[in-house]
Each structure stands twice: as structure tokens, then as C-alpha cells.
Amino acid sequence: MKSSVSKNRNLAWVVIFLLPNTILYFMYTILPAILTAVYSLLDWNGFQSAGEFCGIQNYVELFNDDIFLTSLKVTFKFMLFAVPVRFLVSMLFGLLLNSRKCLFKSFFRTLLFLPVVTTGAIIGTIMIMIFDPSHGPVNIVLEGLGLIDKGKSLLGSYDTALYTSAIIWIWKWMGMSLIYWIASLQSIPDELYEAAKIDGASGFQSFMAITAPLLKPFAVIILLLTIGDSLRVFDILLTLTNGGPFYSTETIELFIYHTAFTDRIPRLGYASAAATIFALFFCVVAIVQSAFKKRGGE
């Protein structure tokens, strides 16, 4: 049925109402996405007004650039460590806070979600102090327990900087996944559990028979959202380590930022080539998600 809004006299209004969104969407997403791919074929330093066409030269150089290859590795290492931990920790909290007998659950949820709303750049600044090797509380406690050597800089050492930043990132964003889990768990109707109880199922049995299978589709979505988040990590790393020490925390996004904006001679074409490769990762995540959705729909 055609709605009356679509009648001719209103068509002008339809266009006017769609215009602001369309312009902002085109100017800040569609056009830049196309331009990034175009720029990636240019040899262009930031001081020139326009670049020169150089074919796939930037891509060839990228795959021979140790710093870029390192940033690829760092991005994956970060993802492989941080995503499973955030996923499992948030699931555990979600299950605990969803149980009906749990006391003060909204209070706990409020506190666990708190870091999510805070400013990443500020968290970076505070955490530098909290993880300070000589005066920070984390080192005082860990040295007291004999877990680390005196004066060990967790954020400043090549072997620990990435994992320490990842833990801080998990801490900051765990509350987000927690909300995803709670929303998913609440979509399971209570009657199912009551029926299981009447049938004499134990808590563990009803978890395996009801909760786990019904949560599976949500778990996949939560996993994909978390992977997307982990690829996007930027402000925390920029303020915590700025990619150091020795590029051990330089993710692709930091590589793009440094190459395009802060290097002595900024290289816009080269950075755009890296951004194009980076965008492909998100395409993969999006394709997996839509493939999964389609399968679920059948």
C-alpha cells in the first residue's frame, strides 16, 4: 500500500528531509572511502597540493616496509589476545549478573560499565601513572607480591607493552560486551527455565540445554562486534605508548596516523594505501556478519 506521504506535493519535502543526512553521509563516508582508494595510487607528500599517479607502487612498498609489516603483526597479536579475553570475561560477568538470585546486580552493572563512558585519551593518561614503574600502584602491588622485578616498566618494555595496553583496553570496553550479553540473556524467556526446573533439571543442565544453544547466534554477533572494536583501537594506544617502544604497539591505525599526519614528511598516498588495506579487514568482518545473518534467516 502506498502511503499518502509519497504523493507529489510531499515529494519535495521527502527530498528536503533526506538531504542533510545524504549530504553528510556522502561527504564524510562515501566520498572519503572512494578517495582513499584513489589516493592510494598517488605519490603524494603532505606539502604538495596534489599527488602524482604512481600505480600500485605504494602497495609494493608497503609489503616491503618492515614498520608496516610489524603493524600488521601487532594488530593481529592485539586482536588474538584481547578479543577472547574480553569475550570470556564479559560472558562470565553477564551470566553472574543475569542470575535471578544475584543481589545488587544493577549496582554492579553500573560500576562495570563505567569505564566505557570515559574518555580514552584520559584513560591513557591516568594509566601511565597507575602503571608507572616507580610510583604507580600496580607496580607497588605486583612487586610486593613478588610477581615482577623491581622497577619493571610494564608499558615501557618491548615484551609487555602490547599485553599491558590490551589489558587496559579490555578493562575499558568490557562493560560494553557485558551489556550485549545481558541483553542477549534477557531475550531467553523465563518460562523455559521454569519448565526445566519442573522437569528436575539442575542449574548446569538447564544452562547446557537452554542457555548455551539459544545464546549461540548472539555469541557470534558479540564476537564480531568485539573484533571490529579491537581493530579500531586508537586513542588509548596513542596516549599510552604512541606505538612504542620500538613499534611494539604500533597498530595499523597508528601507522596510518603517523604516516599521514605526524611524520617529518607526511605521505598521504602511502598512508591511504595502508588505510585501504585496513578497510579490507572491516569488509571481511562485515561479510562474515552478513553471511551469518543470512544463514540464520533461512
Binding site: V14, F17, Y25, L103, V116, I122, I252, I256, Y257
Partner: protein, 292 residues
């Protein structure tokens, strides 16, 4: 629940605790401990902001300052320039919220109520770009903004923050308007109201909860965003927002821990207060991503 006085509430809690099996009480205690450790960094931050830096360096774990001092707040606010950063953040954030609300509500309304050629395609393209992060588009965005004269201006930052897909906000509005009855629109037409009039005085006021959620999510994203203001403010330090100001401050005064903690507290207070007061909108905004 909210109307109850404190005593009745405590009695209610006591009753609830007494009826709860012991193992759940133990669980609650364990959770209490974990969550307090979880937000320890914020306690540490506030405590550090009221100590002197000498005291901070000498006794690490004790959270209570020897002498409460607000000097660091004065230093950060006046000398550190945080009063300017704060105002810039407020202006930028309000601007971004206004733009996002206008563009997303009108678009969501049309996508829900009107039918036109290519609507399905419009929505598909919109949703498909949901994942594109700022990091991959920032270079062309800065070039486009430079050529339009928006680089280094407040308007430029606001538009860049409010630009892009904003898929979530558009979809929240669309699904809200999907549920409004057709008869409302028809009643407006019968009363002789024009198309925009119906939208602004009937439809938009009705969408309060969605508007609240979108406002809060935009507030959080704009207040906290670092990359966009960082790139836009390279040529014009006058319009620095709090996160960018913090980077400059911690670069210049890296050993002034009390000052940095005070500056951090100043930056976080608005988001934290807003979160505590309007929690359910934050939560429903975030939960929307997984339900959709």
C-alpha cells in the same frame, strides 16, 4: 521504588539479603570486591588530584591525602588552559548533538513513513558502511575539509563528528517511527498542518526516548573523540577540546601528576555524572547494537 525513603529501602535490602541463600551472599560480596577494584583507577585519580605531587610519589597506595588541596584544579583550570578546552568541548559537543539529531530524525522519519524509489537501496548502502572506522577515512576528510575552508574551524570539527553514516541513530529513529500509528499523520493532515509542521510538532516530540538515547550516545562519542579534533586542530590550537588539551598538557607537564589527575577529573566529571543520571539510555543505546 525511587520514592521510598532511605530507611524503608534499607529494610527492604535487609529482608532480601536474609532470604537469599548464603552462597549468593558470598557471590555478592565477591562481586563487590571485584567491582571496587574495577573502578579503583577512578578513586586513585580523584585522590591523586587532591594530593601534592610529592605526597603522590612518597606513599603510593594510601588513597586519603594528608591534606586535601584543590590547588591542582586551579592550576589545570587556569594555567593549564582547561577552562578554554572545557568550553571548546561543550560547544563542539552541543553542535554535534544538534546536527546529529536533526539529520538522523528527519532521515529516519522519511525512511519509515515515505515510500520512494531506491529506498531499499538507500538503507542497504547505509547499513553496509556501518563498520567503516574514522581511521580509514580521515585523510580524505581532512582534504575535503581543507578545500571547503573547514579545517581548523569549530564548524569543521562539528560536521566531521556528526558526519558519516550514523547508521545506529537513523535506524533507532526509523524503528521508532515504524511503530507510530498512521492515524496521527492523517489527523495532522486533516487539521491542515504542513508536512514539516507534522514532523516538528507531532512526530519529533513523541520520539523522546529515542532522542534521549541518540543525544547521549552522540554526547559520549563527541566528548571522548580524539582523532577528529586532533587532526582538525593542528592548524588552530584555539579550538582544542579536552582530550587534545590533555595530550598537550601531559606532554608539557609529565611530572605534574596531581595536575594531570585534576585535569583528568575535570574532563571525566561531565560524562560520569551524565551516565549516572541517565543510565538507562546509555544501556539501551548500547544494547541496540546486538538486538538489531
Amino acid at each position: 521504588m525511587k520514592k521510598m525513603d532511605f530507611k524503608t529501602r534499607c529494610q527492604g535490602w535487609a529482608f532480601k539479603i536474609r532470604r537469599t541463600p548464603v552462597r549468593y551472599c558470598v557471590l555478592a560480596l565477591a562481586l563487590l570486591l571485584v567491582t571496587l577494584i574495577w573502578i579503583y583507577p577512578f578513586f586513585w585519580m580523584v585522590s591523586a588530584s587532591m594530593k601534592t605531587t610529592t605526597e603522590l610519589f612518597s606513599k603510593g597506595l594510601d588513597l586519603i591525602p594528608d591534606q586535601f588541596s584543590l590547588d591542582s584544579y586551579y592550576d589545570a583550570w587556569i594555567k593549564g588552559g582547561f577552562s578554554d578546552y572545557f568550553m571548546n568541548s561543550v560547544v563542539t559537543t552541543i553542535g554535534a548533538i544538534a546536527v546529529v539529531l536533526l539529520r538522523c530524525s528527519s532521515c529516519g522519519y522519511i525512511l519509515s513513513q515515505a515510500s520512494f524509489k531506491g529506498k531499499g537501496l538507500y538503507i542497504t548502502i547505509l547499513v553496509a558502511t556501518f563498520f567503516i572506522p574514522h581511521g580509514t577515512t580521515i585523510i580524505p576528510v581532512s582534504q575535503i575539509s581543507t578545500s571547503l575552508g573547514l579545517m581548523g574551524t569549530r564548524i569543521g570539527v562539528i560536521l566531521a563528528l556528526a558526519g558519516g553514516g550514523q547508521v545506529m541513530a537513523v535506524m533507532l529513529y526509523k524503528s521508532f517511527f515504524d511503530k507510530t500509528p498512521r492515524s496521527l499523520y492523517e489527523a495532522g493532515v486533516i487539521d491542515g498542518a504542513s508536512f514539516p509542521r507534522i514532523f516538528f510538532s507531532i512526530m519529533l516530540p513523541m520520539s523522546g526516548p529515542v532522542t534521549a538515547t541518540v543525544t547521549i550516545l552522540t554526547f559520549m562519542n563527541s566528548w571522548n573523540n580524539l582523532l577528529v579534533p586532533l587532526v582538525f586542530m593542528m592548524g588552530n590550537p584555539e579550538i582544542k577540546t579536552l582530550p587534545v588539551g590533555m595530550m598537550a598538557f601531559s606532554g608539557a607537564y609529565a611530572t605534574d601528576w596531581a595536575g594531570m589527575a585534576a585535569a583528568s577529573t575535570i574532563t571525566l566529571i561531565p560524562v560520569i555524572v551524565c551516565y549516572i543520571c541517565l543510565q538507562k539510555y546509555f544501556i539501551s543505546g548500547v544494547a541496540g547494537a546486538v538486538k538489531e
